[in-house]
Amino acid sequence: MGAAKLLGDVMYANRTRADLGEFVLRTPAVGPAIALAVAVVVFALTTNTFLELDNLSLVVEQSLVVGTLALGQTLIILTAGIDLANAANMVLATLLMAKLVVGGTPGWLALLAGLAVTTAVGAITGGLVTRIKLPPFIVTLGLLTILAAASRIYTGQSVAVSDPLLSWLGTRRYLFGGIEVTNGMTVAVVMYLVLWYALSRTGWGRHVYAVGNEPEAARLSGIKVRRTVLSVYLIAGLVYGIAAWQALGRVPNADPNAYQTGNLDSITAVVLGGTSLFGGRGSVLGTLVGALIVSVLRSGLTQAGIDDLYQNVATGVLVIAAVALDRLSRGRQA
């Protein structure tokens, strides 16, 4: 169903090719996609190792954890919220799953427990935001501190994971005689497609955009604002549980000190993907592009022999440029 839709979209693009400039200006997510394509081409020309199929699959693999965190983050930002605690929530779940398994709990039960915890944290966040009307920034700032401390109270040490189910997302397969994919990639693609569909093709999705755009107008038009926002935090929480599973697939070692910048990395991906921090505007596919841009830069610049401090400079410049482009395009439009 998604593939047919995409095909239709490509044909739609052909029709509008005549006014491509107009198209780019009116569609913020196209800018990031072009930036991604340009980065890929530049690295393909300047290094002889970047444009290998297995490196491209590696780049995708490297963006899975942040990409999944950013998926939940996108939902929340679309409602004009923000989640500073998503990575801390995820890390707590990785520790819980790892410790349960070490203590003899079967892998599937540990996984469910991890998903339950992140979803519960999502419920708490959503509850505080919708019932007590606290700003999401404040709620998640507090939760960030609490969850990071909770992880260290729960275990001061990192816990190695040997359970095959918990590290299953890191399992590699080879398609068509050589394209390396991990199970994590498949899971991420499915999640992105499901949420893309839900946001762009269902009533719930329209409500999410409406609530983020103009909550009062949404309420007047009969949308249950609080319920919609709460559902977003719950789903985001569940997504962070999957992110925890992705994290164990990538590094089978739960560490209370890991992913300290995961919250900001996920916001970076969302912003690079053209989603507005003011809510109501953006898409999960843009976020996917945003997450890939960061990985492509890191991989390509490393292979070009450039040290990582300059890589961070490049990422920062891109974030500002992405938002500036977005802003300019809106100015032009108005």
Partner: protein, 347 residues
């Protein structure tokens, strides 16, 4: 401020779909049919140029900056190429894994890594070694230690023991009343120094002589805050363990504010030039110097030798540690700060 879009949100999905499809098509288009897995390092070349990847814990800690600069200098001197990468914070396992993967793709033949976590990077190290890349742990061991070809590091347990023995010597038989300012919970080096110190001073973790402890991540401001709070509760301390010199500086500030500097002996570890000057100026009694410059040079030398002849070092190479103080105590070998200033690292 922001113009709100009145368009149907559905169009976002469509257009982004186009964007993604275009990007995928353009990427796939240029990719052609390269399907051969290529890790440059897989060809162990005798007589070749050394291409070295260095992965440290962070770029912010001056210790790792000194390590990186020493490695860079030695590589330039020997005509090797070196690419330096780092995690973004202490504990950034994912960042280190990514750095190693990208370096493998770049085609390095040696990777020097300071693992943030002794077990966090094992998988990718195994992968690298399977491709014929030599992996050397620098400064911090992996667990198990034989996951890498060789380790060039300070024996941090021994360094902790030296600090403990020195503090015990200064106390000269008085029972210790100790505060411990630790690093990051669970980090390998921090645990080794902590345990070594306790061995050296002759205490155990549950000993009542430890009046308070706090994890301060090796940061001066957190250390000062931690020490201030601990001193609020226990003023009759006579000794403070510090994980590193920024921590010792924080502890000193807290003591000075309370006028306690005369009665408390602070020990530390690192041997940065700033730390040695602090010892000279009497801010703390001693620091245990380690030798990152030597560590980096030895590792780069080994990488160059490996590229030239295929010979790999093995096992643990202790690059040594030395107590630096101007108040030597009997039974603890030490050097004075003049020697320390000639051999310290950083600025």
């Amino acid at each position: 401020m922001w113009q709100r879009s009145r368009r149907d949100p559905r169009s976002w999905g469509r257009r982004t779909g186009v964007a993604v499809a275009l990007a995928a098509v353009s990427a796939a288009g240029v990719t052609g049919c390269t399907s051969q897995r290529y890790w440059g390092g897989s060809s162990t070349t005798a007589g070749g140029q050394a291409v070295i990847g260095l992965v440290t814990k962070t770029d912010t800690n001056p210790y790792f900056v000194a390590l990186r600069e020493a490695a860079q200098g030695e590589a330039t001197k020997l005509g090797a190429r070196l690419s330096a990468q780092a995690g973004r914070f202490d504990g950034d396992n994912d960042g280190q894994v990514t750095a190693v993967e990208n370096l493998m793709q770049r085609g390095v033949n040696t990777i020097l890594i300071t693992p943030s976590n002794a077990t966090g990077v094992l998988n990718v190290i195994t992968q690298a070694r399977q491709r014929g890349i030599m992996v050397i742990a620098l400064d911090t061991e992996t667990k198990p230690a034989d996951a890498v070809d060789a380790t060039f590091a300070t024996d941090n347990t021994a360094a902790g023991r030296q600090q403990g023995a020195y503090v015990k010597g200064v106390l000269a038989g008085a029972p210790p009343r100790l505060l411990m300012l630790d690093g990051t919970p669970g980090a390998t080096v921090d645990t080794q120094r902590h345990n070594g110190f306790l061995q050296g001073i002759g205490l155990t973790d549950d000993s009542p002589a430890i009046l308070g402890r706090q994890s301060v991540n090796g940061e001066q401001n957190l250390a000062q805050q931690g020490a201030e709070n601990l001193l609020q509760r226990a003023v009759d301390v006579n000794s403070i363990y510090t994980l590193n010199e920024p921590t010792a500086r924080g502890a000193f500030s807290a003591l000075r504010a309370r006028g306690l500097t005369g009665q408390v002996v602070i020990g530390s570890i690192d041997g940065g030039c700033q730390g040695v000057r602090d010892v000279r100026d009497g801010r703390y009694a001693a620091t245990v110097m380690q030798f990152p410059v030597k560590m980096a040079q030895l590792a780069v030398d080994a990488a160059v030798e490996f590229a030239r002849s295929g010979h790999k070092p093995s096992g643990f190479h202790d690059t040594g540690s030395k107590v630096i103080t101007d108040r030597p105590v009997p039974g603890v070998e030490s050097a004075d700060t003049a020697w320390g200033l000639r051999n310290c690292w950083g600025t």
